[in-house]
């Protein structure tokens, strides 16, 4: 009698074998790493260059020397820089910096606040308008009026330029499959590119200053505008599009009369996200000369002045809330296609006229009266807030040592150091071999090839050791993020009430620039590797929780009911049904977590995180190390691509139909 192997039976031992294989591999790795500890680590002292980084430095120098006569500069980079510079200056002179020979911007503080109130009222509602006015005023009250206005101006300049490019390209990608195919890999790359990576290269081509900062911000936010616009156009239901076509519309008519109006909600959502991305980037772009609130934040981080950094951080948060809430209110307005009634519209028109007159009065006053032009110095609670936050941090570190120093020590000694000894302090060939084997087991042959190639490229740059330091921190932070993220994600996935309670916190967490998290973490944990890790965790938890929660919620109800009806306990239900069924979301969350963590961990170089991030920052301040900084940025990119590829192959493998 012939035995027929059932496919279902074949799969089970294979996956068991896979985990055994992984376990065995790890044991071997740890053992060999112990024996060969400290050998062939390729460590390069901070002030030294490798052959490759020295060469990169020479290339950077020659680019810099070429700045005035090189054809590419003369006809490409310089005109762009001048245009962007001019554009940014117009906006800055409008609200932030002295305009021409005058000692104030076109609008004094009262004018700016009036205008903000009016615009927010026009796009959303009266409550939001008052909130926006209050939030803007609070920035002034913190003693940071000019910096806040600079940040706002930089953000607006970048957003306007980003949308001017991003929306048309997004529409195009929404309409044409071919264009979508071309832009998708670029968008994907932009999404995994840590922000720190492209600051230095852009500064090299566009000089340090507002122009570079704006262009870098655009590089970051254009993909978001493109993606959401294309998504909106593609999300229009087929039947109205078919109906339009069947009535003989031209492509232009179809776009104008059907596709654009029906995708306006998603496009406005894209504008909201573009604004938030631009804001968070403008803060970081202070590293290459963006004026505004980023500067005091960085200064504070460098000299470890938590109090002042905290004040600037609060101003960033206030602006973030204002921009996010007012643009989201505009989205809610688009929830229905039915416009308000005739009477409502009349009332609204009247209100708009009134608000407009008030705004004009404010603007005129701000140009005529000194008290309305310069933000009153008497209202300055900045130093009080700084002191209060300083003493709060001191209190926490003194009284909750177990929580701060203890936690930091536990993670550093318990997880970070051992992992570092395996990844960074063992021979490079061992690490490469093991990572390649693990990617082979987890993601298949293609991911193994990608890992091996990228890692060998890292070795070739001479920054292997620093890359492994950063990689270690990224892995530790991601593991901890997943630990917290899965617990919270399961919670909000299972309980509507928990979801409702956590959602606003998660939303707020997602809109804040990563930089802002660094300040309190620095206060609690001091300059250390753990500070970088803690910031990475804090920054990436919201996205992980959201993805896991959604995955759990999307587990089919009948699956859950079937398990419950067979008498599963809650724990069994979670571990045996819901988590396995949400496997794809878990992988996706891990991938996102890794990418987010990496982006922040490298910024942690500012506060003692070491690794590639530190080299990037060092490169921008020390001319002899600029090549090393640029190469370090490149290694971050390689690391990001490797992490993303392995995760993508794993996702693909796990979602492929099993036969």
């Amino acid at each position: 009698m012939s035995v027929r192997t059932e496919p279902a039976i074949k799969i089970a031992p294979k996956s068991i074998r896979r985990s055994w294989l992984l376990g065995g591999l790890l044991i071997i790795w740890v053992a060999v790493a112990q024996i060969l500890q400290g050998k062939a680590t390729l460590e390069l002292a901070v002030p030294e260059n490798s052959k490759f980084t020295a060469w990169a430095g020479e290339v950077a120098d020659s680019i810099r020397d070429n700045r005035n006569d090189g054809l590419a500069f003369k006809y490409f980079f310089n005109p762009i820089r001048e245009f962007v510079d001019g554009f940014v200056n117009i906006i800055r002179e409008f609200i932030a910096i002295p305009n021409g020979s005058s000692s104030i911007p076109v609008l004094g503080w009262l004018g700016v606040i009036s205008l903000i109130g009016f615009v927010v009222f026009a796009v959303s509602n009266v409550r939001m308008a008052f909130a926006a006015v209050a939030l803007t005023f609070a920035c002034g009250a913190l003693g940071l009026w000019t910096d806040s206005m600079d940040t706002l101006a930089m953000t607006f300049a970048a957003v306007i330029l980003s949308l001017a490019i991003g929306i048309p390209v997004g529409i195009w990608a929404g309409l044409s499959d071919r264009v979508l195919k071309v832009v998708t890999p670029i968008l994907d790359l932009a999404q995994i590119l840590p922000t720190l990576v492209y600051l230095a290269p852009l500064a090299l081509f566009f000089l340090i200053g507002p122009a570079s900062a704006t262009i870098a911000t655009m590089v970051y936010s254009i993909p978001i505008a493109v993606r959401l616009t294309a998504f909106g156009i593609r999300g229009v239901p087929t039947s109205p599009v078919e109906a339009g076509t069947s009535m003989g519309t031209t492509k232009r008519q179809l776009l104008r009369k059907v596709q654009l109006p029906m995708s306006s909600r998603t496009i406005i959502m894209g504008i909201n996200q573009t604004v938030m991305a631009a804001l968070s980037f403008v803060v970081i772009a202070a590293l290459i000369g963006a004026p505004g609130l980023g500067k005091p934040v960085i200064d504070a981080l460098i000299i470890r002045n938590v109090g002042d950094g905290f004040v600037a951080g609060i101003a960033v948060v206030l602006i973030a809330i204002m921009l996010d809430r007012s643009t989201s209110a505009a989205i809610t307005k688009k929830d229905t296609f039915v416009p308000p009634s005739e009477a409502d519209r009349k009332r609204r028109k009247l209100a708009l006229i009134t608000a407009g007159i008030a705004a004009i009065v404010g603007i005129v006053l701000s140009r005529q009266m000194a008290w309305a032009a310069f933000f009153p110095k008497q209202i300055d609670i900045g130093s009080q807030v700084a002191n209060a936050s300083d003493s709060a941090v001191t209190w926490v570190t003194e009284n909750m040592e177990l929580l701060t120093a203890g936690l930091s020590k536990a993670v550093t000694v318990g997880v970070l150091n051992p992992l570092e000894s395996i990844l960074a302090n063992s021979p490079w060939y061992l690490t490469i071999a093991m990572i390649t084997l693990i990617s082979l087991i987890l993601g298949g042959i293609r991911s193994a090839i990608v890992s091996a190639t990228l890692l060998i490229a890292v070795v070739a740059t001479g920054l292997w050791y620093d890359t492994m330091i950063t990689f270690t921190q990224t892995i530790v932070a991601t593991m901890l993020t997943m630990l917290v993220g899965v617990v919270l994600g399961v919670w909000i996935g299972r309980s509507v009430r928990a979801e409702r309670a956590l959602r606003p916190i998660l939303d707020a967490g997602q809109t804040l620039p990563a930089f802002v998290y660094l300040i309190p973490m620095l206060g609690f944990f001091g300059p250390s590797r753990f500070t970088a890790i803690a910031t990475g965790i804090l920054y990436s938890i919201p996205i992980v929780v959201k993805i896991v929660g959604q995955g759990i919620r999307e587990v089919p109800v009948n699956m859950v009911e079937a398990a419950t009806s067979t008498g599963s306990t809650k724990w069994q239900l979670i571990t045996k049904v819901q988590l396995p069924a949400a496997k794809k979301s878990l992988l996706l969350a891990t991938n996102q977590g890794l990418i987010f963590v990496l982006a922040v961990v490298v910024i942690g170089g500012l506060v003692g995180g070491g690794g590639l991030g530190y080299l990037v920052l060092l490169g921008s301040s020390k001319p002899e190390l600029q090549g090393k900084g640029l190469v370090a940025g490149f290694c971050i990119l390689l690391l990001g691509v490797m992490i993303d590829r392995i995760a993508q192959y794993m996702v693909a493998r796990n979602s492929a139909p099993k036969h």
Binding site: S239, E242, G244, T249
Partner: protein, 344 residues
């Protein structure tokens, strides 16, 4: 049926998805079962060699289950999907040869479509939805609104001209869809499962509405449905599709009396035959023992409608066609059909 007298004439129409679709057309591969074809060449032959003619003023129903290719077929007729091969002639003009501009013009003036999910534009008032085709054709606002108001009255949407689609019930929304299709006064209307998304009761109202509109306006219609009773109710002729090909085409009576294969028979099994068949199909010669009553009945009377007269007659009733008696029926013959006895 000759091409010249047809409102629409479809010849050897093919729609093949996948790589090198032309290769599948007329090839033996096309006849393979779906999964096998996909396995072998990567193609799906959604519409296979379909030909039919629709007479002016006729309601032609294409019926099939989901996946039978009927929705693809109707989209090929208006070139919303470009067919792989074949011709569609609309009042003497082969629309396959029309260039982009001509195709737009045809769509704006000669034919119109009603969709299963209505396809209304949520950001436009009812009146502007209805006037849309006129608007894209450059008709002035005054004129197109005047025309829209006419059709609003026609479909019973008075008072809703300035409402928005999402303020209307599903049935009312599809009335807007109908009005929109009527607004251009088309030569042919294509209706793609227009009532499938509606509740049964409202569906029945809308079917009646279509019958009324057809009687009033006499539009040629190609009506797609998966619902046999809808097909029987509306269709002058019905084409039954399966796996991309037409398996049988004919009047309701022909389909039920002579199903071409087991598939069609299976389909039509539950249809009460007395509601569809005419007395012609059950007329038989007079038996020796019987004597005619002298009463007669026209041959195209539906059996159900003949019941009272025949039961009343107390004996064989003559079935008359063209002035001649072609046979007789009596109450037992009718009861056999009503009682579900097989009779072909």
């Amino acid at each position: 049926m000759s091409n010249n007298s047809s409102a629409i004439s479809v010849k050897n129409l093919w729609q093949v998805f996948g790589p090198n679709p032309e290769k599948i057309v007329d090839s033996p591969d096309a006849r393979l079962p779906r999964a096998e074809l996909r396995e072998k060449t990567g193609n799906t032959a959604a519409v296979q060699d379909v030909s039919f003619d629709v007479a002016p003023g006729e309601v032609f129903v294409v019926m099939g289950l989901s996946g039978s290719g009927k929705s693809t077929l109707v989209r090929c007729l208006t070139r919303l999907i470009e067919p792989t091969a074949g011709s569609v002639v609309l009042n003497g003009e082969n629309i396959m040869e029309a260039n982009a501009a001509r195709l737009r013009e045809l769509r704006r003036t000669k034919f119109s479509m009603v969709f299963q999910n209505f396809g209304l534009l949520p950001h436009r008032k009812v009146i502007d939805n209805i006037a849309f085709a006129l608007e894209v054709n450059g008709v002035s606002k005054e004129k197109r609104h005047a025309r829209a108001n006419e059709v609003i009255e026609l479909v019973g949407l008075q008072g809703f001209a300035y409402a928005y689609p999402e303020q209307l019930s599903g049935g009312m929304q599809q009335r807007v869809g109908l009005a929109r299709a009527l607004a251009v006064d088309p030569e042919v209307m294509f209706l793609d499962e227009p009532f499938s998304a509606l509740d049964p009761l409202i569906r029945r109202d809308m079917q009646t509405e279509v019958i009324r509109l057809h009687e009033e306006l006499g539009k040629t219609m190609v009506f797609i449905t998966h619902d046999l009773s809808e097909a029987l109710k509306l269709g002058d002729r019905i084409a039954i599709m399966r796996d991309g090909a037409v398996v049988q085409m004919g009047t309701a009576e022909e389909l039920i009396a002579n199903p071409a294969d087991a598939y069609v028979e299976d389909f039509t099994r539950d249809v009460p035959k007395s509601h569809v068949l005419t007395v012609r199909t059950i007329a038989r010669p007079l038996a020796d023992s019987e004597t005619a009553t002298g009463r007669t009945i026209p041959a195209d009377t539906i059996i159900r409608d003949a019941t009272a007269a025949v039961l009343d007659a107390n004996g064989p009733v003559g079935v008359v066609e063209g002035g001649n008696i072609i046979g007789y029926i009596k109450s037992r013959d009718i009861l056999q059909v009503v009682g579900g006895g097989t009779h072909a």
